[in-house]
């Protein structure tokens, strides 16, 4: 009887499995892009959301005044032109007269003014407000012009305005208090449905001022496990996917029907030392740690070589030759000598914190660093934490050392003023500042000549690496994978998915 029963069970399972299989082959409409990502947006308010996963969705729906292209050059979005005047203290925008919100109403200077006033209002609690503090007033002299009057010259302001955190939303929605509950922007796609952590349905915005959208819409599925995303790509259930884990991404090229887009990004992997704690408060100890670390080895071991060793400057146009920076070639003997000079010939013990899965390589990075520092007698205790717990400790500066993946910006001032200026919001996290760093940053903020700015930030970088408050490791890639019949996607160093507006799916 037992055997008889098993036979029936097996045939039952086989039948059920065939049912599952029979659904696989039904293709969705070819003009709708089927897409997957592992982390979903956490909210719809473009001014408040700062997580990458939210921004990736919101930049398809909303638009800022200007945008950064694949070379991080500022290009028109809602504004068709702009110019600085009054010694960098006035910024004037001309709006594109065709720009419309998804309800058909035109985007007006009043909407721009209301949007920026919302960001600046402390009650909104927009973290990005910190980038716009130099805006003193906003004027709207006519139906297509917006004038920002600034309290001080602020060249990086324009780049900060290219962020989705400075998106223009309708003044009427702000007045109604519905920004964040209703997604109404002027971008290439309209959000039809959002089931958090499960699914998004987007349709193309036929009235988009940026031109014709290449697909009828995008169906986004949230597949939390990236190996399942790869499996779905393999079986042609999805056309396009965003991948975070380099280990999964490197498997994509092995599939004949798939293409991997691999783009260097601005975010950087770093070992943060807490210079307010002993013995990291001593310059030579920090320098010893910097000299003892083999950055290429960390990259090769933790991230299968997927990335590039970097100094503090990661934006194209500002990067310098990393091999010329202080101790970028590992020198254990020098590190040992520096340790002995500081009176730590026998080393010391410290704790390094890292977040689980954020980035995916965090634990491996910590382990490689632990073994490298052991060679100069530094005994590291690795403490892995849930992301939120980690962020809490990080913000309080409550760590000896921290393995971090910090976001990058197209402009070095916007990227680092929070850490390396005397008034920086995250001085408590950086825990190190000196006059040189502060003055170079202020010069960089005011200088309008690109070549001079580049030189200023190169000096800033050289000094920062020598002072070694942190040990910059490497920048990695952002990955998207697509079927061969998906064409026209242009990735950017910000990891933006805005390029999906021009993607087409060949039949």
């Amino acid at each position: 009887m037992g055997r008889h029963f098993s036979t029936r069970l097996i045939s039952g399972l086989a039948f059920a499995a065939t049912l599952g299989v029979s659904f696989v082959t039904s293709p969705a409409s070819a003009a709708t892009l089927r897409m997957a990502w592992s982390q979903d947006a956490t909210g719809l308010d473009p001014h408040k959301q700062t997580a990458f996963s939210s921004i990736r969705l919101l930049e398809l729906i909303y638009e800022p005044l200007v945008r950064l292209d694949k070379d991080l050059k500022i290009v028109p979005a809602i504004a068709s032109s702009w110019e600085f005047s009054d010694g960098g203290k006035q910024l004037t925008f001309k709006l594109n007269p065709n720009a419309k919100f998804q309800d058909g109403k035109p985007v007006t200077p009043a909407d721009v003014k209301a949007s920026f006033e919302r960001v600046l209002d402390e009650k909104t609690a927009a973290a990005a407000r910190a980038n716009f503090r130099s805006i003193a007033s906003i004027e709207t002299p006519d139906q297509t012009t917006v004038v920002f009057k600034l309290s001080q010259p602020d060249v990086p302001l324009l780049t900060a305005m290219a962020s989705i955190n400075a998106a223009i939303v309708p003044a009427s929605e702000i007045a109604a208090g519905s920004v964040g509950t209703k997604a109404l922007g002027s971008g290439p796609f309209k959000l039809e449905k959002w089931d958090p952590n499960s699914k998004e349905v987007l349709t193309a915005n036929k009235d988009w001022a940026g031109g014709k959208v290449g697909v009828d819409g995008i169906d986004i599925s949230v597949l939390p496990d990236e190996t399942a995303i790869l499996a779905s790509l393999r079986t042609k259930q999805i056309d396009f996917a965003l991948l975070n884990d380099p280990l999964v991404a490197t498997l994509v090229p092995k599939e004949t029907n798939l293409t991997l887009n691999r783009t260097p990004v601005l975010a950087y992997h770093v070992l943060q030392l807490n210079a307010s704690r002993k013995p990291m408060n001593e310059l030579v100890v920090r320098q010893a740690i910097s000299c003892a670390i083999d950055r290429q080895d960390v990259l090769d071991t933790a991230s299968v070589g997927e990335g590039k060793v970097t100094g503090p400057l990661t934006a194209p146009g500002y990067t310098t030759d990393a091999s010329q920076l202080f101790c970028y070639k590992r020198d254990v003997e020098k590190a040992k000598k520096l340790m002995a000079d500081a009176g730590y010939a026998d080393g010391f013990s410290a704790t390094v914190i890292a977040a689980n899965g954020e980035p995916a390589t965090a634990a491996s990075e910590a382990q490689v660093i632990q073994s490298q520092l052991a060679e100069i007698g530094v005994k590291l205790d690795i403490k892995m934490m849930e992301l939120n717990v980690y962020v809490d400790a990080w913000l309080k500066g409550d760590f000896d050392m921290a393995v971090a993946l910090n976001g990058g910006r197209a402009d070095p001032y916007s990227m680092y003023n929070r850490y390396w200026t005397k008034a920086g919001n995250l001085q408590k996290v950086a825990n190190y500042i000196d006059d040189t760093l502060d003055s170079q940053m202020q010069k960089g903020r005011e200088e309008t000549d690109p070549a001079k700015r580049k030189a200023i930030f190169a000096n800033f970088e050289k000094h920062l690496v020598e002072m070694s408050p942190w040990v910059w490791l490497y920048t990695s890639y952002s990955y998207t994978a697509q079927q061969k019949n998906v064409q026209g996607f242009v990735p950017t160093p910000e990891g933006s998915l805005f390029g999906l507006s021009k993607v087409t799916v060949q039949q």
């Binding site: 009887m1 037992g2 029963f5 098993s6 069970l9 059920a16 499995a17 049912l19 599952g20 299989v21 659904f23 696989v24 956490t42 909210g43 408040k48 959301q49 700062t50 997580a51 402390e122 009650k123 909104t124 609690a125 973290a127 990005a128 407000r129 910190a130 958090p196 952590n197 499960s198 699914k199 169906d219 599925s221 949230v222 597949l223 939390p224 496990d225 190996t227 399942a228 790869l230 499996a231 779905s232 393999r234 079986t235 259930q237 999805i238 849930e386 992301l387 939120n388 717990v389 962020v391 809490d392 400790a393 990080w394 913000l395 976001g407 929070r418 919001n425 995250l426 408590k428 996290v429």
Partner: protein, 320 residues
């Protein structure tokens, strides 16, 4: 009946204890809804901005006051609003629960349909090669984490055969039963795999005990056919530990199967709780934990009642 009333009357007390525990515990974990939303960017907030956000998330009051407000809401049948979903917590949970219930039932079916016959089979072939084979298989089943089984199934199907059930968009059973079963069968097999192994082991050992009892020997000596002795006389008495195990496992499964839900992208209760904790959606965490605790108590009660049905000698609530 009095036993049932007594058991039911302990429910509110347990729920109260659970609610206090989870309310305090989730708030004691470092990080809050603000850092969950903004990550490290939370460091850019001014004190006034922070206050505005704390007020928005309802975390600007002392814990006792927050708890009291929440408790008053619960008495009105209101578990609060989920900040992630912008919807009432109970609604969000009830949307996810049918999937979790279905998955739990299906994997229990897989476990019992495979595990029970396998266990009985092994017990009747005690210490023979076939018994050994079943035991090894059960050992492997029990010691393989279900995410490994899940990933292997996905890999084997997609790489080997180029097929995979639809992932990402879940179809409820009542909307399209065939499509639904197509999506659910692999997760159920994945979850049922380890569960079946436990059932196999426990039913085998219970069966071995029973088979050496006098009444079984008597039945055999009276000439009752072997098959009848096993399935009719012995098995019902060997079922008690299986029921206990299944009840406990089923109770766990009703709390959601996080890893399997993650791998197969199923929007079940497990992922809901996990995401709620990661995003510090306090109201949703509290609601989910309370809901799961309630289910667990109901399942336990049902298990006790099944004991009586299986073994009339057991008298509930009469001091053994």
């Amino acid at each position: 009946m009095s036993y049932l009333t007594r058991r039911l009357s302990t429910f509110p007390l347990v729920m109260l204890g659970v609610s206090i525990l989870v309310f305090v515990a989730i708030r004691m974990v470092p990080g809050d809804a603000i850092t969950a939303m903004l990550g490290t960017e939370a460091g850019l907030l001014t004190p006034a901005q922070r206050e505005a956000l704390a007020n928005y998330f309802g975390i600007d009051q002392p814990i006792a006051v927050q708890y009291w407000h929440w408790l008053l809401g619960v008495f009105r049948g209101d578990l609060g609003i989920s900040v992630t979903y912008g919807k009432p917590v109970l609604g969000v949970i009830l949307e996810r629960f049918p999937l979790t219930l279905q998955l739990a039932l299906m994997s229990m079916c897989v476990a019992l349909l495979v595990g029970l016959p396998a266990g009985v089979f092994a017990a009747t072939r005690n210490e023979k090669m076939s018994d050994l084979a079943v035991r090894i298989f059960a050992m492997i089943g029990q010691s393989t984490p279900n995410f490994v089984v899940g990933l292997l199934i996905i890999y084997a199907l997609s790489a080997g055969f180029g097929i995979l059930p639809t992932m990402g968009e879940f179809t409820p059973l009542l909307v399209d039963p065939l499509r639904n079963l197509g999506q659910m069968i692999l997760p159920a097999v994945t979850l049922g795999f380890a569960f079946a192994a436990s059932v196999t082991r426990i039913s085998r050992s219970a069966m071995l005990d029973v088979l050496s009892d006098d009444y079984v020997r008597t039945a055999r000596s009276k000439g009752v056919p072997k098959r009848s002795v096993i399935w009719r006389h012995a098995l019902p008495n060997a079922l008690i530990p299986v029921v206990t195990l299944s009840g406990v496992e089923f109770g766990y499964l009703l709390g959601g199967a996080v890893l399997v839900e993650q791998i197969y992208a199923l929007p079940g209760l497990g992922r809901l709780v996990l995401d709620a904790i990661l995003q510090r959606d306090y109201a949703l965490v509290q609601g989910c934990v309370l809901f799961i605790a309630f289910n667990f108590m109901v399942v336990n009660l049902i298990v006790d009642l099944v004991y009586v049905a299986l073994d009339p000698r057991i008298r509930l609530g009469e001091g053994g």
